[in-house]
Symmetry: C2
Subunit: 332 residues, 2 copies
Amino acid sequence: MRRPTLEEVAAAAGVSKMTASRALRGAADVSKDSILKVREAAERIGYVGNQLALSLSAQRTNLIGVVVPSLSNVVFPEVLSGISAVLEGTGMQAVFGLSDYDPDKEREVIRNMLSWRPSAMIVTGLDQPDETLRLLRQADIPIVQLMDLDGEPVDFNVGLSHGAAGEAMGRALLTTGRRRIGYVGSGLGRDLRAAKRKRGFEMSLRQADLSLEAEEVAPDFSSPSLGKRLTRALLLKAPELDCIYYSNDDMAAGGVFACMELGIAVPDRLLIAGFNGLEIADALPVRIATSHSPRREMGETAARLALQAMTPERERLERIVAFTPRITLGSE
Amino acid sequence: MRRPTLEEVAAAAGVSKMTASRALRGAADVSKDSILKVREAAERIGYVGNQLALSLSAQRTNLIGVVVPSLSNVVFPEVLSGISAVLEGTGMQAVFGLSDYDPDKEREVIRNMLSWRPSAMIVTGLDQPDETLRLLRQADIPIVQLMDLDGEPVDFNVGLSHGAAGEAMGRALLTTGRRRIGYVGSGLGRDLRAAKRKRGFEMSLRQADLSLEAEEVAPDFSSPSLGKRLTRALLLKAPELDCIYYSNDDMAAGGVFACMELGIAVPDRLLIAGFNGLEIADALPVRIATSHSPRREMGETAARLALQAMTPERERLERIVAFTPRITLGSE
DNA sequence: TACGTTATCGATACCGGTATCGATACCAAT
DNA sequence: ATTGGTATCGATACCGGTATCGATAACGTA
């Protein structure tokens, strides 16, 4: 008692498999009478088409593989939502995979996805090891590398320069007169983009003959709790700081909470700066500085690019789409 | 210049397709010599297996379809992470779909997934329309319904009773002596589980001859910003409230921020209660009451159940796994 | 009446794997 | 020399669709 096949629908409708196939797809060369009979039969016995057979036969799938490092960081669910929204109604279907920030796992996830013969792939970042890049290149489908911009893409690239974003935030903070600057971050070994922001940030300080007075970094995943804990630790070591740069807004929110508990005026005495422009930053009772990264738009753009790259239009597409995060200082 | 097939690997290795197939799968009846030749050839020409052909031939896939309403609510990414983690290394692969809280869209997403012949399905909630339920039943694979518990499952059910959770929170709040109670919520038309919690909550009030003094509900998606805005509006209408129940912790966090700005002491003057036990609740500078829902565990349990249900063990499995959220009042 | 056109349909091959079973070679035992 | 067992291999069928092309019937026209 398996799932009914087209053959069975055809038998129930008293026509051949081919006629049934044509009838259900709305193809030409079928009489109205046959169409009705086949539709009725399919409905009656609960026929659901088989994409495996269809895709094998058609030599292409309606799948777009998407690999992100994690879902814990709100950034990625938002990117995925953007991708999903654009694909909606196009007949294309996103398939998500998680790499957990682990390059080996990422390679296996990608290899797995490629075995489903997706029509395009969207992956996070530009820092894949050679073997992974080779897999992607050999797949001979449009590849979109997402989020990051500092590097040479396999094919298409949608993102922003995290180095430049860190540097821009550094310069912006310096214009507010802050000089005693600290850093709080998490998981820099894995989160390469946060590490790039930090390097860019430090570079901007050096150009002003400054450097980070203190920093506190933990290997854990980023979260408000961790941000709070590390901020307390940092302020114990370096109570004179007038500004702290965080690896992202989650951590920065924790910084805000720490300051509230310690009675430190934000942003008057201590300016707090994050990254992402998360929704939570808007709701906080005090303003923080942040770079607004267009996460959803990047997802949407990547999906659109993937769709277009599957058409002959492919040749005429820009290979790199650069976004620039908008900085708000929140202090004024 | 398509992707190389097994046939081509076989030709390059000087053996037949069957021998190549056996060699790559590590099956019996192949000489060491052939294995080496085939492996080398496959590596050299960059062969990647074709799951379409494999699954069509084997009459089963390694796919588990998962449908959630959204990724905007942190709850669902956590559930998905749990599912992903359990499936890791089992050879099974989760495929995610989004319904956007839209029953029609959910039905189409499910229909789409079924056309890939997944080996199991995990869907959110028990409130699917009949047509969707029929699709799921006819698929003749293990179906796990997730998150919710108030209803009759198709097959397996993992979740918690949101009605009971709301009621329990109501009773708990009453024991603290609070009597003037308000409600702040969002999107109750779509978020059926939040609506169930509210109903349970109101029932517990009625049992104490009380009712909600005021409520503020908006159709938007839940967020700290919305929680903040609605809290301000509610406190304008009903400044004497000593307790507010929120549709979830995101909204409750916004309530905390509103109180901070209004100079209202939390929890001394106003007790704030949410749902979920989100990470952010721990980091807030003041304590709120919340029900800790084991989101990740529910995902893990659902995945484990799906895996077991695909084995002969199926008959011996509990069909309903009930979780009970742990309530913390935060006030003491 | 013979013929071309059009509408409709179905037989067959194919997509890229795997299950199955028969074929072959080699060796040991009788 | 015959037999039987073992190791290795390949031909074939099949999974469930669709593309392709030839077949058939109905019809109008020369």
